[in-house]
């Protein structure tokens, strides 16, 4: 549970995680194993199709949630279950405490429920003097340690067997060995007694079927079955978003949930409880069963067009499993009760701004979560939206306001960039890196060298370049430079110009273009995001261009996927649409549009490894093309985890240098291990980060943009 009061405190907490070598190792191993296992377990089904079906079905359910509630209540009550609805967490706790009191329950056993954690149910029950024992092994361990979960599915993933042995030794008053199978036995023994003596069981629910009034729970341990069987009273507590129309929908959820959660085809147990089952200890031989449906902000979220899709979540935890930030800091630092990308979002809605403020900043926008989400939720987009709201409510931090003001005025922005060149001149010592900057700019930035602003940006070179370019060709292509290439790496654009102009493109570079706007969007600056988008759309008249090609994966995916959304309520919606359709990234343009093949390049013996930029492979789905091109021009050396973020993330690397630096280090270690001499990427931002890192690590790899390699080897 992340509890820092200020950003400074939060950085302190993050550093603690980064220094925790057991945690780091455990999460590293998990991240790598999870991805491999996930691939295997999804191999026999169409993953994308299933996710799409889940998303559509969930949306449909959300549209008629009230009807589902009424139907579920009627059907469940017909079969002897009492159904309650709680508007707030406090109300839910009150209802459950009352059920305990009315049935004279003293000892409670629980099987896993995130909703119970959400409403801090244990706290409420213990406040009433009730004895509560968690029975999911992981939950029990952290309960004994008075900690919160660090993962939604594996709550104790942050602990070593030694730590668990110590905890169990304290609990049992006997020294316990740190042997996992023995420790599991200890739990079997200790918890059996608790099961035997409990008078109330509390579980969560993975789905609630309206058609039949069925409550479904998935567990591997079987504690859900015991919790719902042994005690006289059973209370299932769940968010109203778990309502689903029929059995088919539930079966569909069961297909995706265990696969995404732990890469299992199914959990060992799925219990479908339709009505109150037999119970020999109650006078009428039936179990006393209650279902408590918790709203706690959910119906409000439903009305929130931009964020409601977060209610599709099936709580599989995949968004944490694939998140590079989670992998480094763990759930205590990347969540409050809910963890990972969905945690950042739900904290804001369920646990308030205060608890969400720092958390929502800690996303590098790599889109790995969006790509893996069982319910097809665009998680990073919702995170940006929440940032935007926090900015609107509370005003922006100075840095973000400054950036917005500057970006809304192209001339000012560009002259500042030019000015940067003079300001840094004495500092760079004649190399392409900034050597010394005043401490205030360099805080935490020691992990990489920062590049110098070029003496002559691309826009100043253009008139000259253009003079010698062909004016005839089959395609009219506008070059979108993006800030990094225009002002730092114009040579990358020149390389692209060489490749494109030699293959039938009539090129132009509209000078009115400016920053794509992604940085301000990431900071939640809505107005600045709109005005930068409009400026670029105006700069590229659709009548004059067949394509708009950019060498920056982030600019490309942002402009292509988000411009229409940014201008959704603006009268330039149509133009935004036209613009977005024309945008292409460099690699896929070269292969798919220009049709270049290995025939067009001289294959050299140079060994080249590849970093797959987040916004290219996930943002645009461009995976094969760059690898094909590398292999056409040189010897491609594959590296492990090519598609994991390099840690740049634009302003993220300034805000969280400690995380950015770690990601960079892991990345370069993997890449250097290939033994290649050159590293290419499809994005100037990544090049900046990777080259800066290599400069610090002794330049074992020459880092460049893929366009530079291709230009060199073009026949």
């Amino acid at each position: 549970m992340q509890s820092a009061k200020s950003m400074n405190e939060y950085h302190g907490e993050i550093q603690e995680s980064l220094d925790n070598s057991f945690l780091r190792q455990a999460l590293d191993k998990f991240a790598v194993a999870y991805k491999a296992n996930r691939l295997t377990i999804f191999a026999d089904i169409n993953e994308k199709e299933l996710i799409k079906e889940i998303a559509d079905a969930k949306d449909e359910s959300l549209d008629k949630l009230e009807d589902l509630y009424v139907q579920f209540k009627a059907e469940a009550e017909k079969r002897g279950v009492q159904v309650h609805r709680a508007d707030t967490a406090a109300q839910a706790n009150e209802i459950i405490c009352k059920i305990a009191a009315e049935n004279n329950c003293k000892r409670i056993i629980k099987s896993k429920s995130m909703t119970a954690e959400e409403i801090h149910l244990n706290h409420a029950l213990e406040g009433e003097g009730l004895e509560v024992a968690e029975t999911d092994l992981g939950e029990w361990i952290i309960q004994l340690r008075h900690e919160g979960p660090t993962h939604m599915v594996m709550p104790a993933i942050h602990l070593s067997k030694g730590q668990v042995a110590d905890t169990f030794s304290d609990e049992t008053g006997k020294k316990q060995e740190s042997d996992i199978s023995l420790l599991v036995k200890v739990a079997r023994r200790e918890l059996r007694a608790k099961f035997a003596n409990a008078d109330m069981g509390i579980s969560g629910a993975n789905f609630l079927i309206a058609d039949t009034g069925t409550v479904g729970i998935c567990t591997n341990e079987g504690n859900g079955r015991l919790t719902s069987t042994l005690p006289r009273v059973h209370v299932a507590v769940a968010g109203i978003d778990k309502l689903t129309p029929n059995i088919h929908d539930a079966l569909r959820v069961i297909k995706v949930l265990p696969r995404s959660a732990t890469a299992q085809a199914i959990t060992t147990y799925v219990s479908w409880m339709t009505g109150s089952a037999e119970h020999s200890l109650n006078p009428d031989k039936r179990k006393i069963m209650h279902v408590v449906l918790v709203d706690n902000g959910r119906t409000a979220m439903l009305k929130d067009e931009l964020c409601r899709s977060a209610l599709r979540c099936v709580r599989c935890g995949a968004c944490a499993n694939v998140c590079p930030v989670y992998r480094l800091v763990g759930g205590h630092k990347m969540g409050y009760v809910y963890i990972g990308a969905i945690g950042l979002i739900l904290t804001y809605f369920f646990h308030g701004r205060e608890n969400a403020r720092n958390l929502v900043q800690n996303c590098i926008n790599c889109e790995a979560c969006k790509d893996a989400c069982s319910a097809g939720i665009d998680l990073p987009a919702i995170i940006h939206e929440i940032r935007a709201r926090l900015v609107e409510e509370e005003g922006a931090p100075l840095s973000s306001t400054l950036l917005s003001t500057v970006l809304e005025n192209r001339k000012l922005f560009h002259s500042l960039l030019r000015f940067g060149k003079f300001a840094q001149r004495p500092a760079t010592g004649g190399t392409k890196f900034i050597r010394h900057l005043p401490e205030v700019f360099m805080k935490g930035q020691g992990f990489r060298a920062l590049p110098a602003i070029t003496a002559k940006p691309f826009r100043d070179r253009w008139a000259e370049i253009k003079r010698i370019l062909p004016t005839e060709g089959k395609l009219r292509v506008g070059i979108f430079a993006g800030c990094a290439q225009d002002f730092i790496y114009p040579e990358q654009l020149e390389a692209a110009v060489k490749v494109l102009s030699a293959n039938g493109c009539i090129l132009d570079f509209p000078l009115e273009q400016s920053c794509c706007g992604l940085p301000v969007r990431m900071m939640g600056e809505r107005k600045a995001a709109e005005s930068t988008a409009i400026r670029n759309i105006r700069a590229f008249d659709p009548a004059r261009f067949d394509y708009i090609v950019t060498l920056c994966a982030s600019c490309a995916s942002y402009m292509k996927n988000t411009y229409t959304e940014v201008l959704e309520h603006h009268n330039m919606r149509t133009e935004a649409q036209q613009y977005a359709t024309r945008v292409r990234d460099f690699s896929s343009f070269v292969t798919d549009v220009l049709g270049l093949t290995e025939e067009n390049f001289t294959k050299s013996g140079e060994t080249v490894c590849y970093h797959s930029a987040c916004h290219l492979c996930r943002g645009l789905g461009v995976v094969k093309q760059p690898r094909y091109l590398i292999n056409a021009a040189a010897e491609y050396k594959p590296a492990p985890e090519e598609d994991v973020c390099c840690g740049f993330g634009g302003s993220y690397s300034m805000k969280f240098p400690e995380i950015s630096g770690q990601l960079l280090d892991m990345k370069l270690t993997n890449l250097e291990a290939t033994g290649a001499s050159t590293l290419v990427a499809d994005c100037p931002g990544c090049v900046m980060q990777l080259r800066g890192g290599e400069e610090k690590r002794g330049n074992k790899l020459k880092v460049e943009h893929i366009a530079e390699l291709l230009a060199r080897q073009l026949k």
């Binding site: 104790a156 079997r188 085809a265």
Partner: protein, 203 residues
């Protein structure tokens, strides 16, 4: 002759191994029963778990093995008891609340099965079924080949019929009880059975 989907049966067997399900093929229910008794004979005596500080439920931990057959019909029960009692086993159909410290074997018959997840479906509205299948160290399920369907959508109608009527407690079981909560190391038998055997019955 019941309709057997051979492909589904093969798939079930193939998916069972990775989730620690042991499968044996037997000609009929009687042989499935004999198999369960054989399993019981070979196993270590049940390791009883105290239900309170130093207190155990029924069963003395000695050689008297306890087998529960909670969902057999009267006739099936008689067959089972006739086979098991001569071996000195206690054969029960009910009363599982007195055995919370554990029993040796639970033997049940399945209602349906799903091949692509190696899932057996057991209707468990009866408390005895739920308890026996959780308290036993080894759970042996008799499953007819004709009951195996390929995917979960193929048992939808089966489920619909049961749940429409209700009350019902329908259990999907796809292996022995397991956890990976400590250092992500897969460990079998946390709260429930340590082993799950399926006797695949012809027909």
């Amino acid at each position: 002759m019941a309709n057997i989907d051979k492909e589904a049966v093969d798939l079930f067997q193939q998916k069972a191994a990775p989730v620690s399900i042991k499968i044996v093929e037997v000609p009929g229910l009687d042989e499935a029963m004999a198999y369960a008794l054989e399993v019981c004979e070979k196993k270590q005596p049940c390791e009883l778990i105290p239900v309170a500080e130093g207190k155990f439920s029924a069963g003395d931990g000695g050689d008297a093995r306890v087998v529960c057959v909670p969902n057999l019909s009267d006739k099936e029960y008689k067959t089972f008891a006739d086979l098991g009692q001569p071996k000195g086993f206690t054969i029960l159909r009910k009363g599982m609340r007195s055995y919370l410290s554990g029993i040796d074997v639970a033997f049940t018959t399945a209602g349906a099965a799903i091949a692509d997840t190696a899932t057996t479906i057991i209707e468990s509205i009866s408390e005895e079924v739920r308890l026996a299948t959780m308290l036993a160290e080894i759970h042996v399920i008799a499953l007819k080949k004709s009951q195996i369907k390929k995917s979960s959508y193929d048992v939808e109608d089966y489920l619909q019929k049961i749940m429409e009527k209700g009350p019902a407690y329908t259990a999907f079981i796809s292996g022995p009880s397991r956890t990976a909560d400590i250092e992500r190391v897969l460990t079998i038998g946390v709260h429930g059975p340590l082993e799950l055997h399926i006797a695949l019955v012809e027909g």
